[in-house]
Symmetry: none
Subunit: 357 residues, 2 copies
């Protein structure tokens, strides 16, 4: 709940910004505001006192209160409550849902989102972190960049920690830093999915994974560990690893080569749905049918994965909810309340891109 003086302050401030009271105008008297807001003189005076500190008004004893020239250069103090959000990509894929979830929560607490993306590049991550610090964000939500590789920006993260700025990681995290994080259990989920393909009698499965973020590595490990539980067929597994900086065309070439061979895999486990959708296109160009000839599975349950033909078998995990949880956690952290890390267990959704061998 908001305090009364904050309500009064906001009310008057809004009228000033809206222009109801113009620069230089005489404001209503304290008694007027007392009646208008139904509060005591103390409360009004506290509100206008802060507005005076923020240079929105000035007061003349005996004369009245007046709107200050608040529009001119007030570089000095900015009362901006901001939460910094750093992700690898803004537009791609599931991030909009996450960002939207964050926004829904933090905007209700009066915070804005200062957004930055790293294009999965450590140098850009560094720039983003520095800019966030310069902008005096009160807290940070970060999706680590190339989380599977050593991070050269740990020095800045440590500075941020020492400055007492709360940091929350999403999707992955760094073991060296003990910030809380919210992520999905990629390894176990991919394991279950691969296991499902085995029950469909697939033995030779191609895994295609992006390995410069830790989610991709976990998914790949899930794939591999599934095979290790079936030592008789584990030699049949094939894996294509790629980095986010690689050209997609090159990756598809490698997949094409593998799928063109005599004894090609009968199923493909993809890093995510986006890749799966593209791989299905590649497969069809080889005159193979999905799922009759090749089963394809993805990850994430991208919102349109059920509408494409064939609809995708995949793993669903919360997206907007992750954002909402992240927003709630970061607000708690700002208020110095304790916060627990959260792990989501993705659920398998069987659709039409998979079939018995």
């Amino acid at each position: 709940m908001e305090t009364k003086y904050e309500t009064v302050k906001k009310g008057i401030k809004a009228d000033i910004i809206a222009g109801t009271y113009q620069t230089g105008d005489k404001l209503p008297t304290e008694s007027d505001f007392m009646k208008q807001f139904g509060v005591s003189r103390y409360t009004v005076r506290r509100a206008v006192g802060e507005l005076q500190n923020e240079r929105f008004i000035y007061r003349i004893q005996g004369g009245g209160m007046f709107v200050d020239d608040w529009q001119s250069e007030r570089v000095t103090q900015v009362n901006n409550k901001m939460v910094g959000v750093i992700t690898t990509h803004i537009a791609d894929y599931i991030f909009p849902n996450i960002i939207s979830g964050i926004d829904r929560i933090v905007s209700n607490s009066g915070y804005s989102i200062l957004l930055s993306n790293t294009h999965n590049n450590h140098q850009k991550e560094r720039q983003s972190l520095i800019r966030m610090l310069d902008s005096n964000v009160e807290a940070l939500i970060v999706e680590p960049t190339q989380s599977a590789l050593p991070n050269p920006n740990l020095d800045i993260y440590k500075k941020i920690r020492d400055a007492g700025i709360p940091v929350l990681f999403i999707n992955s995290h760094y073991d060296e830093l003990d910030f809380p994080y919210i992520h999905t259990n990629d390894l176990e989920a991919e394991q279950r999915l691969t296991e499902y393909l085995f029950t469909q009698e697939h033995e030779k499965i191609l895994g295609v994974f992006q390995v410069d973020d830790s989610q991709g590595v976990h998914r790949m490990n899930g794939f591999v560990q599934s095979y290790l539980k079936h030592p008789k067929i584990s030699y049949l597994s094939e894996i294509v690893m790629y980095q986010s900086s690689d050209e997609m065309a090159k990756i598809f070439e490698r997949v094409t080569k593998i799928m063109s061979s005599e004894n090609h895999p009968t199923a493909i486990a993809c890093y995510n749905d986006k890749l799966a959708i593209q791989i299905i296109d590649v497969i069809r160009s080889l005159d193979l049918r999905v799922p009759e000839d090749v089963s394809v599975v993805g990850f994430d349950d991208y919102q349109l994965s059920k509408y494409i033909e064939p609809s995708l078998t995949t793993l669903v995990h919360p997206k907007e909810k992750m954002g909402i949880d992240a927003g709630k956690s970061i607000i708690k952290m700002i208020n110095k309340e304790p916060v627990e890390s959260i792990t989501y267990d993705p659920e398998m959704i069987i659709r039409n891109s998979t079939a018995r061998k």
Copy 2:
């Protein structure tokens, strides 16, 4: 003569500077100071309140008052080069692409994006605008909220203009404000698309349009004007109008009713691809085939529109490019260079959701 609270303030401040109270030390309680200076609690609180504003002390409710690190860097100059971006939705649809395009450009010029969304609600737009001003953004990129309706926030926009803050509108704009804008030529494009349906011998076409944003209104007008050019059949057109606040289920109900009738329309023109995809689902639930029984067209060329079954006939317009152009324009505007409004002419893409009647 000095006021009492000034005396108290000076007294405490002197002890801090002299080192009687060291940085981090707990100060005496308010009651202590009341006795020490022989004043009321109000006076003590007023004194320590100002000391807190001057960063000499900090207070913890229930905990006590402590000497702040007043000797360190007093002025933490905030280097916040920020561009505010206000859209109706963050996650939905094509906005991520636009935001990503903006980010690509402005981040290269050292700017961060302060993001806010309005959920297509005027009240929230107002809050967003005020927050942006409070945060000292150097420029604003705004997608108008409910742009087809009168905007109650024009007063703030005018205030922003008077303050010399550059504003750029995307997707739509307000005629009352002469800010530059970047938008697509929705009317003509929808006209061409409807015309195409006529060439496919469709005569009875249902239009489903969202009418609280001006894009939707323009699209609907394109649809209508197309019919007006064919007066012989214009009585055959049907239109379902809805607002963003309406429940989708209700809209689908109305569509269902129309499509269940004896002589139902043979084609449906949808506000956008997202709606088209859902409408195809509705149509199929009525045991009608797309495109054999009913042709469906969308708008926007949503990225997965070519992957769904059937792939969508639609109008493509730049999305990320719109963001890039917006970014470039806003940087120019910050540099006080002249900027022209930009109009994109969407291109028609014929896919498999349409067929000859």
